[in-house]
């Protein structure tokens, strides 16, 4: 049966939390804190952060960022062969033609499609899953822009962004971002995005981690979904935007002048490879959480597999800031239905303790995100994590304390979204704690670009999570939703202009893929890996071992 909605398995562990709770509540009431770490202690603990783990990464042996050390999971994809033999692709008879080809179907891609269409371009969007299947849809928190001139300005937004990114961010990109954020927000308002507002029309705003002013605007706790479904709806109204679903790009196509001039698309259902020719291309394929870097679970969408990173790199675009990956400290470990799901930082801010398997505190719950995550990982490595029936491990987040500290009903009213989701799974988080562990959340870096969304390849533009530079080494909450709007729009304007003014006619080629293959051989990379992988495979190993089809002609599924 169950204990407070958890399977019996957890009963002894939850009882340990309940046993220590009264004393911990007393400690809180007296204002006593678990000590914060000193800067030296932080440095020690950060050795447990996945980013700081040298054995978790290696040098890339080929390509424009040869020698750069990034996570094995990324190198594995970069040191891999194309899904196709480039010689077998017939580039002389394109299956699709467009002025601007947009690869991706999330927020950045859709916003780019709208603006490119308004600039007069015939737009083709090619996306791997359905239009709108993207991390944008899942973003809860909000969207940052300095909008209240009596207390905020792009100056403060700039400092927050660059401080959050450890002062490594690209200054031009950050300046462009903070300057254009207000207008981007106004554009969303004009499309009918239902922002949370005061009765006089003033936008509600709150703090996010690392902000000095409350400039996190939001649409209840479904900001990303509201933005995504609104821009998608508008795209569906535009006759000059064509969307190809279940058709990811597996290579970029260049022309004989070295310009990006299309992509090779893969119809995932018929397994055909199809040629899309375009006068400019925007890559907006999002992130990479589904690579499960260092075995971490993720908050990301099913399709977040770094496809754009791979094909952009093969075409000659270097990487930027790919040595850092964002892990959020509190992702759900159990129940498995919502595994990897984000539990907002506000639970800790309001006074929920973080506890080990003995029901003991081991860390102040308001350390910086990377430090907090690293400390959780250490506790579990030390054998003091709470096990789950599926063999995973986590730490407790003692949410019921909030009802004791702030009055009955606090959890249910202040965290209604989370309360509802757990309630549907039979758990009342105002009575039972939540089991959490750090979860892979965001790709801080990506393909190197400039403030005009240009890359090393003429005619190839990038926008959104696939890019690297804006967030430096660490993104702040609320800046990714604004990223896709500001840079989706800039990429679109520039791509449309390139298509109009600079794109040259010329033979299409996949020679860069041939060259990449040769470089792999010369570097001694012997592998049967192919990339992009397009989708993760969550079938169980016993099934995979019995898939014995010898060769799939033409392709590797």
């Amino acid at each position: 049966m169950s204990y407070l909605g958890y399977p019996d398995f957890f009963e002894p562990y939850i009882k340990k939390v309940e046993a220590t709770r009264p004393a911990r509540v007393e400690m809180r009431k007296k204002g006593e804190e678990f000590p914060f770490m000193t800067l030296d202690e932080r440095q020690e603990i950060l050795k447990y952060h996945p980013d700081y783990k040298e054995e978790g990464r290696r040098e890339i042996k080929v390509g424009p960022s040869k020698g750069y050390r990034v996570a094995h999971e990324f190198v594995d994809l970069l040191e891999a062969r194309s899904r196709v033999d480039p010689d077998r692709v017939n580039l002389s008879e394109p299956d699709y033609e467009a002025d601007v080809l947009i690869i991706g179907g999330g927020g950045a891609a859709t916003i780019a499609a709208l603006i490119a269409e308004e600039a007069g371009a015939r737009v083709l969007m090619a996306t791997k899953l359905r239009h709108g299947d993207a991390n944008t849809m899942m973003a809860e928190g909000g969207i940052q822009a300095a909008t209240k001139s009596e207390k905020d300005s792009p100056y403060y937004h700039y400092l927050d962004v660059i401080g959050g990114g450890h002062f490594r961010n690209d200054p031009d990109i950050v300046a462009s971002f903070v300057r254009q954020a207000p207008e981007a927000l106004q554009w969303l308002e004009s499309l009918g995005v239902m922002f949370s507002k005061l009765p006089d029309g003033r936008l509600d705003a709150m703090h996010g981690g690392g902000t000095c002013r409350k400039r996190m605007h939001y649409c209840a706790d479904l900001s990303g979904m509201e933005i995504m479904r609104t821009v998608r709806d508008e795209a569906r109204n535009r006759p000059n935007i064509t969307v190809l679903e279940f058709s990811p790009a597996v290579e970029l196509i260049l022309n004989e002048h070295g310009q990006c001039a299309g992509a090779l698309l893969y119809n995932m259902e018929t397994e055909e490879y199809l040629v899309a020719r375009a006068r400019a291309v925007i890559l907006a394929t999002g992130g990479a959480g589904r690579l499960h870097v260092q075995g971490f679970m993720t908050t990301n969408h099913y399709g977040a597999t770094a496809d754009g990173l791979v094909i952009g790199y093969r075409a000659g675009v270097p990487l930027a800031f790919m040595h850092t990956v964002q892990y959020h400290p509190t992702g759900v470990v159990f129940p498995e239905q919502i595994e990897g799901w984000l539990i907002t930082e506000r639970f800790r801010a309001e006074g929920s303790d973080v506890l080990n398997v003995h029901g003991e505190k081991f860390v102040n719950e308001r350390e910086p995100r990377d430090v907090e995550s690293a400390r959780f990982i250490k506790e579990c490595l030390d054998g003091k994590g709470v096990p789950t029936p599926a063999g995973k491990v986590g730490v407790w987040l003692d949410s019921p304390m909030l009802d004791i500290l702030h009055g009955a009903g606090r959890v249910r009213t202040a965290f209604v979204g989370k309360w509802n989701v757990y309630d549907r799974l039979g758990i009342d988080i105002s009575r039972a704690p939540m089991l959490v562990y750090p979860t892979l959340h965001y790709q801080n870096g990506g393909l190197k670009n400039n403030a005009e969304c240009e890359t090393a390849v003429p005619g190839l533009y990038v926008a959104g999570e696939v890019t690297g530079g804006l967030h430096g080494e660490n993104r702040l909450m609320g800046n990714s939703l604004m990223d896709i709007v500001v840079f989706g729009r800039i990429a679109a304007r520039n791509a449309a202009a390139f298509a109009r003014e600079k794109a040259a006619e010329g033979m299409l080629t996949l020679d860069h893929v041939e060259r990449y293959h040769k470089e792999l051989e010369e570097a001694g990379v012997e592998t049967d890996r192919v990339s992009p992988i397009l989708l993760p495979d969550y079938t169980r190993p016993e099934v995979r071992e019995k898939r014995l089809s010898a060769v799939r002609p033409g392709t590797k599924r």
Binding site: P7, R130, G132, C212, T230, F246, R540
Partner: protein, 260 residues
């Protein structure tokens, strides 16, 4: 095909330690085919355990994208039920099929031409009035949206109420799949929310003012200074930032107004 590995294999396959192999397997029927899957798994994970690798019918895996609408029936029950595969836990002997696509009617429109008049919705979606108020839609909704009430609001011309009631809609289309009147509720709600957001909610004046100030170049000078600043200076400015208190009200103002 019946899955017939040894018990210990199954346990390991589910990522479990051998000593915890007490996990119970239960039979489910995926499109009529029997598989044994671990109790407590979602339909989505159970299908993956059985060997399905999804192309369609799988998205955010967290109940917010609407990709994995699923139809099922339990033994001895006449009733067809619907759920999201990533949220619904398997039950013994349930018959499952996914519904990864459902053809619906979506009206195209020029958004800039729309007003906030109720007739805008009536014109684009005349089938709205085919609703017979059976409430099958609300019962099907995995989000607990009162779908029928929101449709009723549209019928009486209350766009604002429809927008608010439907705000949590994830557009999975399960309501539509159960609708006697064959309404595409979620497209109607989308229209209502956009009209509400752009034509009914009061526009943010402070936002328009800020946009104007930025356009006039008010912050160009200071942003250029920041762009060219050395890291040490930036760090100093960063540390000196005056932080708006969490508890501050809407009228809070900073002491230092030089960079506003």
């Amino acid at each position: 095909m019946i899955v017939e590995e040894k018990k210990s294999d199954r346990a390991q396959a589910a990522g479990k330690e051998p000593e915890q192999s007490a996990v119970k397997l239960i039979p489910v029927y995926v499109m009529g085919k029997r598989y044994e899957v671990p109790e407590g798994f979602t339909i989505m994970k159970a299908m993956e355990y059985a060997g399905y690798r999804f192309i369609r019918g799988c998205g955010c895996r967290g109940g917010t994208c609407g990709a994995c609408g699923t139809v099922y029936r339990k033994p001895g029950d006449y009733k067809i039920q619907v759920a999201l595969a990533c949220q619904k836990t398997v039950e013994p002997d349930m018959y499952i099929t996914q519904m990864p696509f459902f053809p619906v009617n979506r009206a195209s429109y020029e958004f800039s031409d729309l007003t906030s008049a109720p007739e805008e919705v009536f014109k684009l979606y005349p089938e709205l009035f085919r609703c017979v108020a059976c409430n099958a839609c609300s019962k099907a909704c995995p989000q607990g949206v009162e779908v029928m009430d929101a449709i009723a609001a549209l019928k009486r011309g209350d766009i604002s109420e429809a927008a608010r009631l439907s705000f949590e809609c994830i557009q999975c289309g399960l309501c539509t799949s159960r609708c006697f009147g064959e309404l595409a509720q979620y497209h109607m709600f989308q229209l209502a929310r956009r009209i509400y957001g752009a034509r009914i909610l009061v526009r943010a004046e402070h936002l328009a003012d800020m946009v104007k100030a930025v356009d006039q170049g008010k912050y160009d000078g200071i942003l250029n200074e920041l762009k060219n600043m050395k890291e040490d200076e930036l760090k100093e400015l960063y540390k000196q930032r005056e932080v708006e208190p969490v508890s501050a009200g809407e009228n809070w103002q900073p002491e230092d107004t030089r960079y506003l």
